[in-house]
Each structure stands twice: as C-alpha cells, then as structure tokens.
Subunit: 198 residues, 2 copies
Amino acid sequence: MSIQTRKERERAQREKLIITAARELAEAEGWEAVTTRRLAEQVEYSQPVLYSHFKGKDAIMTAVALEGFADLAAELRAARTATPDPAHALAQVGAAYVAFAERRPALYDAMFSQTVNLPFATPQAPAALHTSFNELAEAVGPHAHGADPGLLTETFWAALHGLVTLMRGGRLPREAHDRRLAILLARFTHEPASQGRL
Amino acid sequence: MSIQTRKERERAQREKLIITAARELAEAEGWEAVTTRRLAEQVEYSQPVLYSHFKGKDAIMTAVALEGFADLAAELRAARTATPDPAHALAQVGAAYVAFAERRPALYDAMFSQTVNLPFATPQAPAALHTSFNELAEAVGPHAHGADPGLLTETFWAALHGLVTLMRGGRLPREAHDRRLAILLARFTHEPASQGRL
DNA sequence: TTCCTGTTCCTAGCAGCGCTAGAAATTGGA
DNA sequence: TCCAATTTCTAGCGCTGCTAGGAACAGGAA
C-alpha cells in the first residue's frame, strides 16, 4: 500500500521531469531538437521509458502545452487587473498575450500552432485553457456593445494570434508591430459607428 | 544552341511537373505525405533529380507556395470587383480569403504557416504576393479613415489568418465562423467611434 | 537468507526520413 | 564508330519515432 503510493509518486515525479525537460529543450533549441533520444538522455532514462508515460511525442508536446496555459492565464490576469480602465485593460492584455508568444515561441507553438489533440471551446477543454480564455473575455467584454461577448473574444484572440504567427514567420515586419496592435485595439475598443447587423 | 534551349525547356517543364506533383500530393494527403521518395516516384524520376532542381524539400514547398499566391490574388480580385459597395467588397474579400484557406489548406499552409524562406513585406517579395496583398489593401483602404492603410491591411490580414488557423487547428468551433467573420468585418468596416490615438 | 514472481527497464532493431557520393547510362559532337 | 560530357540512378549515411524481447531488479514467502 505505502510502497504502491511511493511508486506512484515517483512515477508522477518522473513524468513532470520529462515534461519539463521537453519544454526546456524546445525553448532552448526549438521543437525540431526535441527528439526522443535527446529527451531520454536528458532525463537519464532510455527511450521506452518515455513511451511508458506518453503515447508518443505528440502526447509529450500536448503535456507541455497544458503547462503553458496556466502560465499564460496568470500573465493575462496580471495584465488585466493592473488597471481599472477597460480600454487600457484590453491594451494591457493584448500586449501581454503578444509578449508571452514572443518570449516563449516554442511553448506558444505547442499551445496554439501545432496540430495537437486537445479539446478547445468545449466543457471538456482543460481548466487552464478556460481560465486563459476567460481572462481575455473579461478584458474584451466591456467593449462588446451588444455583440456576443464570447464570439467577440474569439475574434480578438484570433487577431492577436494572426499578428503573432505572421510576425514570427517573417510575414509581417516586426518594427511596425506596435502600430498594428494599436490599430487592432482601436477597432475593438470602440463601438462600430453604426448599423452593425451582427 | 537549339539543343541547349530544348534541354532548358525540358528541364523547366520537369520542374513544373515536380511542383505540380508536390502540390497535388500535399492537397490530397497533407504535407507529411510528401516525401522525396514518393514525390520522385510520382514524377517517375529518382530522388537525386529532385535535388538537381531544388536545394531541398523546403525549396519545393516554397515553389508550391509561390504558385499559390497567384491563385489567391485572382480569387481575391474576383471577390473585390464583384461589388461596388466598399463595405460589401471587404466582406466579399474576407470571405474569399477564408474560403481559399479552407478549400486548399495544404497550399495555404505552405504559403502562410510553414517556416519558409521567402521575403515578405519588402520590394524583394514575389510579385504575386504583392498582388495578393494589394487586393486586400484595395478592399481595406476605403475604411482606413485616416489610419495607415498598409498597416490596417496587415492587421486585417492577420485577423483573417488567425481565424483560419485557429479554426483549422480545432481551437475555434467551425459553426460560429460566419458570426466571427461578421464581427471582424463590422469592426473594420466602421470607423472607430472616437479618440483613436493611432 | 534464499528463492521466486512480477514489474521495470534497457538493448537492439525496424521502417522510414532528407539528403548525397560515386558509379552507370545516356547524350551529342568528332 | 568512338569519345567526352552530361545526366541519371543505385546504394547508403545518419537521423527520426517507435517497439519487441530479454535482462535486471524489485519485494514478499519460506
């Protein structure tokens, strides 16, 4: 009984170790450097041990992504609650989102770019993911002006995601990023002037 | 001399054949199915022939992407010129962009998602890419209201790109796409109501 | 303490990947 | 008809994700 729990505890610990090693390796050298061999060497176990914890490399990336959602949620929350002004809050949250993506691109990819088998936008989605989305929604909500807040949040999120990914792929010049973000914020902060048939 | 030109012509023809085969294979089974072996078999040459035309697999993907830009530009142009109303034109162009991405996801990925070594947003960028961007800019321009039209176009493009990629990755529910697009269009069609300090 | 059984782990290897050296075959002119 | 230059292919390198099968190591019973 006690032995059993000890073994389970050690196993869980080792699983955390694998996830951390994968994330660190990805953040240091990119996901293409995260091979099962290198990862196994890093955690000082053989490759099959990885497969006793995860079904495959994709599952490891998914586990890394899951950790990332919690981090992102925390940073978004900090940005949002730093100011009482709704317009400023949206700007802060938008900037925080981009900053996260720029600071931890490999992690961001695992979360939002890689084809990964995670439920999004359903109750089955991981809690940390809901939290992240809700942080965005809290910031976007005050600017809904009658539009569906959830959909508005999704749209704002998509715009941020597009800015981030196109910039990282070299499709958008980096130096104009702040101005693009300002344009986006202006369009989402103020109510559409008229006849918006949504 | 004539022999030389014939050889060059045949070589160019074969290069086209490779690009077409790569695109078709990618569109049929995804880029992960486009291996140099399968591609070589498809064009009925050995692998090293591919490398006599392209530096590597990435270069082949880049060539496929280049073809795609011309297609996209044509479809955007058709959508934009189908109506004289600026608001409607923007909606048409946005819908056409999304439709292109949804109809040809593999091609779209090569153009905008894959890490590919193409100059964007500079004079050195391929002509077809400029054309595509200009089509977007033509549709966005009328709604600039003093903002920088180029940056506004980039921002609108990023939003469309975000919607498309998040939806394809299962991050956004497909059934609400039309409403999200409508929200985006409303935000970009109408002037921000006030004090937009851009 | 010694054995036994069940678990845990590693060695070794498979099929496939992008890519390339060097031999074979083909071409076109002398 | 032969030769030189070009073109093309065969074969293989080092790597990938992944796994079968045997070795090593537990922990409980005698």
